[in-house]
């Protein structure tokens, strides 16, 4: 055996984390053994607290503490404008722009037959309910610009149009601050197709 059992267990648990392999897990484990006891305890407490206290918002399925998430509770935000994303971390990305003052809806993934994920496995029914009940004017579909995200956007558009709500899709384009010369061909090609009038 390479390690004494408690260390082996710690390495094994750490290596289950995304992006963490054997080597990194080992480095993290040794680090945790080196730091003061209260720091390690504080990390363990933070994990347990997050697990126990964090719930899902009953309206938008973002992470929350209690019934509703911070955004859904914020009365200054426009509840008739809803941005649909795949995962809670996508909200963070949209929020960082500071451009969006509406509410969110987290689908919990994207349609992917290969992974056995269809509309029923996502929070789509709940989205339609929100549209009917909360008087939503516009839905911005901000699923990932991958095949699965596109399929989800198309599916949503088909459901939303008959309800008389405006459905839009975020544009895909070029990174700001970069040179055209270095843009990848597919992105540049799509940006050309989706060009805007000046």
């Amino acid at each position: 055996m390479l390690y004494t059992p408690p260390i082996a267990r710690l390495v094994e648990e750490l290596s289950k984390l995304p992006g963490v392999g054997q080597k990194t897990a080992q480095r993290l484990a040794f680090h945790l053994l080196k730091i003061p006891g209260e720091e390690a305890r504080s990390l363990a407490d933070a994990i347990i607290e997050a697990r126990e206290r964090v719930t899902f918002c009953s309206r938008c399925f973002n992470f929350a503490q209690g019934e509703l998430c911070d955004y859904c509770m914020d009365s200054r935000r426009d509840p008739t404008l809803v941005c649909v994303v795949e995962r809670p971390q996508d909200i963070v990305a949209v929020e960082r722009t500071g451009e969006f003052r509406g509410l969110y809806h987290v689908l919990g993934g994207a349609i992917s037959p290969i992974d056995g994920i269809g509309p029923e496995e996502l929070k789509i029914r709940e989205l339609l309910e929100r549209v009917r009940k909360d008087g939503v004017r516009e839905i911005i579909v901000a699923t990932n610009p991958r095949v699965e995200g596109e399929a989800t956007a198309i599916y949503l558009a088909d459901l939303l149009k008959p309800l008389g709500v405006r459905a839009t899709r975020i544009a895909s384009g070029l990174p700001v601050g970069g040179d055209l010369e270095y843009a990848d061909e597919v992105t540049l090609g799509r940006a050309l197709k989706g060009r805007l009038d000046l």
């Binding site: 349609i111 037959p113 095949v147 399929a151 989800t152 198309i154 088909d158 990848d184 061909e185 597919v186």
Partner: protein, 329 residues
């Protein structure tokens, strides 16, 4: 081994490593093996790694080195794309006489070399296709309703028509180059024609979407997508005949050689890259007249490596490298 400008003829009996040599150069320039996706196959039995090194002149010296290990690390140096290789192999005759799939593969390869971004476009389409096929099968199993496929139709159209558009541009350029060569070789009119399962109206989204929707019934029965660039056909006609079915073995070989030459020409024209032609055993099965035609064509290139089992006395003025016992392999 050193190569000169113009035509280099590498001569040696079977098993002397002529093909190995060309494949090694191809690997070095293209960064991938020509026939296998599995890099490990390139390592000799009982060895732990394979190493290819080469030095190229593209106005300045470009040194390349590639190390392949069983763990799979491939490249030591960042890929430079100033020089590109096009390889003809005797098996290429299957792109003429084989099923449509072999021509699609060659067309995809040419499009990847010629059109920047085609690889990504094709990869996304493959992803759509896999997802749509799985959706079809889950409907067939009765797990989902038909609406599950519908969402994928639009993506099949969007990404499929993108692939077709790019392929059509490649076909147009290949057609121009190949018909030029065919004319010079006195083979009559050569014509490439791309037939898409999405129909002539592929530019019309509404019409094509209806066509796609119309296939669903049959697709559920068969369990696969029956429409899209993955089922398209490229027909090659030589002097009014379908090269796949109505041309002789020798003519088919000439067509395959023309394809590779046109590919090299199109790459050079589109990307400005210097193109090295690697012609593995391109002269066998050809009569004297056609050999002379092929060699005359190759003379137009800056640098070509031709392999042969025969000594080729009629081309004695060319630079020849003999692979003897112990050399090569």
């Amino acid at each position: 081994m050193e190569m000169r400008p113009g035509i280099n003829v590498v001569i040696g009996d079977n098993g002397r490593g002529k093909t190995n040599l060309l494949e090694a150069v191809y690997l070095l320039l293209q960064g991938r093996p020509n026939r296998t996706a599995d890099f490990e196959e390139l390592i000799m039995h009982g060895q732990n790694e394979a190493v290819v090194e080469g030095s190229f002149d593209a106005g300045r010296e470009i040194k390349k080195r590639m190390v392949i290990t069983r763990e799979g690390s491939h490249r030591a140096k960042r890929e430079t794309r100033e020089i590109q290789a096009v390889l003809f192999q005797p098996d290429d005759i299957w792109m003429v006489k084989g099923p449509p799939e072999t021509r699609r593969k060659c067309l995809d390869e040419a499009s990847t070399d010629v059109k920047r971004g085609y690889r990504e476009v094709a990869r996304e389409y493959q992803r759509v296709l896999r997802q749509r096929n799985e959706a079809i099968r889950s409907v067939r199993r009765g797990e989902r309703d038909r609406g599950y496929i519908k969402g994928w139709n639009k993506l099949l159209y969007r990404h499929g028509s993108e692939v077709i558009g790019e392929r059509l541009e490649t076909v147009k350029e290949m057609n121009r180059e190949m018909s030029d060569i065919a004319e010079r070789w006195g083979q009559g009119r050569l014509e490439l024609k791309y037939y898409t399962t999405m129909g002539e109206d592929v530019g019309d989204e509404k019409k094509t979407m209806e066509k796609i929707a119309g296939m669903e019934e049959a697709e559920i029965r068969r369990g696969v997508s029956l429409i899209g660039p993955h089922r398209d056909e490229l027909v090659i006609r030589l002097a009014g005949r379908n090269a796949r079915r109505e041309c002789s073995q020798g003519e088919q070989k000439l067509v395959a050689i023309m394809w590779r030459l046109a590919q090299a020409k199109t790459i050079a024209g589109n990307t400005g890259r210097k193109t090295l032609l690697l012609m593995d055993d391109c002269l066998s099965e050809l009569d004297e007249e056609n050999r002379a035609r092929v060699m005359a064509e190759l003379r137009r290139w800056k640098q070509v490596v031709v392999t042969s089992t025969d000594d080729l006395p009629e081309f004695d003025h060319l630079y020849k490298v003999f692979l003897g016992q112990g050399e090569g392999r």
